[in-house]
Amino acid sequence: MSVRPLTEDQRDAMQEITNIAMGQAGSLLATLLGVFVNLSVPRINVLALSDVADAIGSMVGRNIEITAVRQSFHGYLRGEAIVIYGRDGCKELGDLMGYDEVLDRTDEIELLLDVSNILVGACLGGIIDQIKGITEAHGAGELSFSAPSLMAENVPAEVLINPDKLTWTHALLMEVNFTLEGRNFISHLCMLMPGGSIEKMRNILDEFVASF
């Protein structure tokens, strides 16, 4: 099945919108952890289902184990956000937060879910804010979020998404990553929107580009 990519203008606009949104998310992360956060240049792509696992593998790194949290969002646009941490991401975050007390496993997972929720909320919230003028004209309300849940812990990045079990054919993938200065920590935030939302997004982006 052939996938129609975003036009150069659409991709460029999506990248800038995502960049601004991730700046807000990154700033929250920096405040939370008390360290300087390096922001990546966002990667935007429309992918066939069969390529998504591979794309995630190549972004995150092959043959490494990851921990991931997922959260869905729905409204005018719908999709899922996946926040990917390195192996033992739970422990790393606990260390970074510098809690005095020792965190048990439940505390670690709760922290991981909280931080993921903040990143997803800030990033998607930031994206929606910028295109609000356009989406509201199409009758869109506010976005709502499901509770975040632990998707996988210490599994190879390639197996995170299993194409055999999924029903969609292609998705818009937006990826940003946060690294911490002087620390061996990385967190990838992937936002994926399936079929119908891609078409809506194309229209939104066209209008966005035309407004400048």
Binding site: I109, D114, A122, F145
Partner: protein, 330 residues
């Protein structure tokens, strides 16, 4: 708005009667809305809590944590969540399975939502509380069943101790850990001497009983951190974490001695058993976990070769001796 007059209060009555807890607090943690679900389960009617501080009304709430959570919604202007999986409950509500439930209180999933006033400012947080008791109980049961299944797939059908697959998997884990973080561990293989003779003399059922008895006996002599597995036939392997070669030899000698002193009783017949053991330890230069199996196996071979009922430690010399071994033995 074109709502018909009788529908004006519809949202209010939905909030009031829906079978989900809904309540709202302002920045000062004062309760400003409290629906029937909350009233019924807490035993506190709206009239007794509205206008009062949430934590004064419910001292059992985890105050430090919960106020931080609610504050985060005001600051981040973002949804927040809690799940029964991490935090089984906030409120001490009785659940609706007083007979069949295995939990103390209603399991709760909560969503915290920022609420804007007319000027667009977030002035309160709305919390919805879902009863997750049924989901929680069935998920816990499912998980226990899954754990048992995966435990079963790691076990040897006859003896109930770990099987070869698990033993090798664990050996790999131990190998990786020691490679990365240093430290030592040892590995031993042992074999029941003349087991074929046991089968031939006393029958296969007796042979099975011997395998079970010896593996149970040895398991009871090991530490809980040690991993005993059936490697195949009458051959067994033991992983001894944080144990160097000297320590492992002491353990092996003890096992050898106790097994030899304890004949296995089968239908009033005492069957004497001895074991031959080969022992090796992990070293920084050990290339892979398979090499440990090779070393233990070679040492075991020499225990057999030198008369059985004995312990042999792996040394490099064994390799050269092994090379001199006539091929007809291999």
């Amino acid at each position: 708005m074109s709502e018909s007059p009788q529908n004006i209060h519809l949202p209010d009555s939905i909030v009031k009667w829906v079978n989900v807890g809904i309540f709202v607090v302002d920045r000062g943690m004062k309760i400003t809305l409290w629906n029937n679900f909350m009233a019924n389960h807490s035993g506190r009617g709206a009239d007794t809590v509205i206008g009062r501080n949430l934590f004064d009304c419910f001292p059992e709430l985890p105050k430090t944590w919960l106020s931080k959570k609610i504050q985060s919604v005001f600051i981040l202007k973002n949804f927040a969540f809690t799940s029964w999986e991490q935090r089984p409950y906030l409120f001490h509500f009785p659940h609706n399975r007083p007979i069949t439930g295995s939990v103390d209180f209603m399991l709760q999933n909560c969503t915290f939502m920022p609420v804007k006033n007319e000027t667009g400012e977030i002035d309160s947080v709305c919390i919805t509380l879902f009863d997750a008791t049924d989901t929680g109980i069935s998920q816990t049961e499912l998980k226990n069943a899954m754990d048992r299944l995966s435990e079963d797939s790691n076990r040897d059908g006859l003896t109930g101790i770990y099987n070869r697959r698990y033993l090798e998997q664990h050996l790999l884990t131990e190998f990786d850990r020691s490679k990365r973080y240093g430290g030592h561990f040892s590995f031993m293989l042992f074999d029941l001497d003349h087991f074929k003779k046991v089968n031939d003399t006393y029958g296969h059922l007796a042979g099975d009983a011997v395998l079970c008895a010896v593996s149970q006996h040895i398991n009871s002599l090991l530490r809980t951190v040690d991993v005993l597995g059936r490697y195949g036939g009458e051959e067994f392997g033991v992983i001894l974490p944080s144990t160097n070669l000297e320590g492992a030899i002491v353990v092996a000698e003890k096992l050898k001695q106790i097994v030899a002193q304890t004949p296995v009783m089968h239908k009033e017949t005492a069957i004497p058993i001895t074991v031959s053991i080969g022992v090796t330890e992990f070293k920084a230069e050990t290339p892979n976990y398979e090499h440990l199996i090779h070393c233990a196996d070679l040492a075991l071979y020499f225990s057999k070769e030198n008369g059985r009922n004995r312990v042999t430690r792996y040394t490099d010399e064994l390799e050269s001796k092994n090379n001199l071994r006539p091929t007809l033995f291999t």
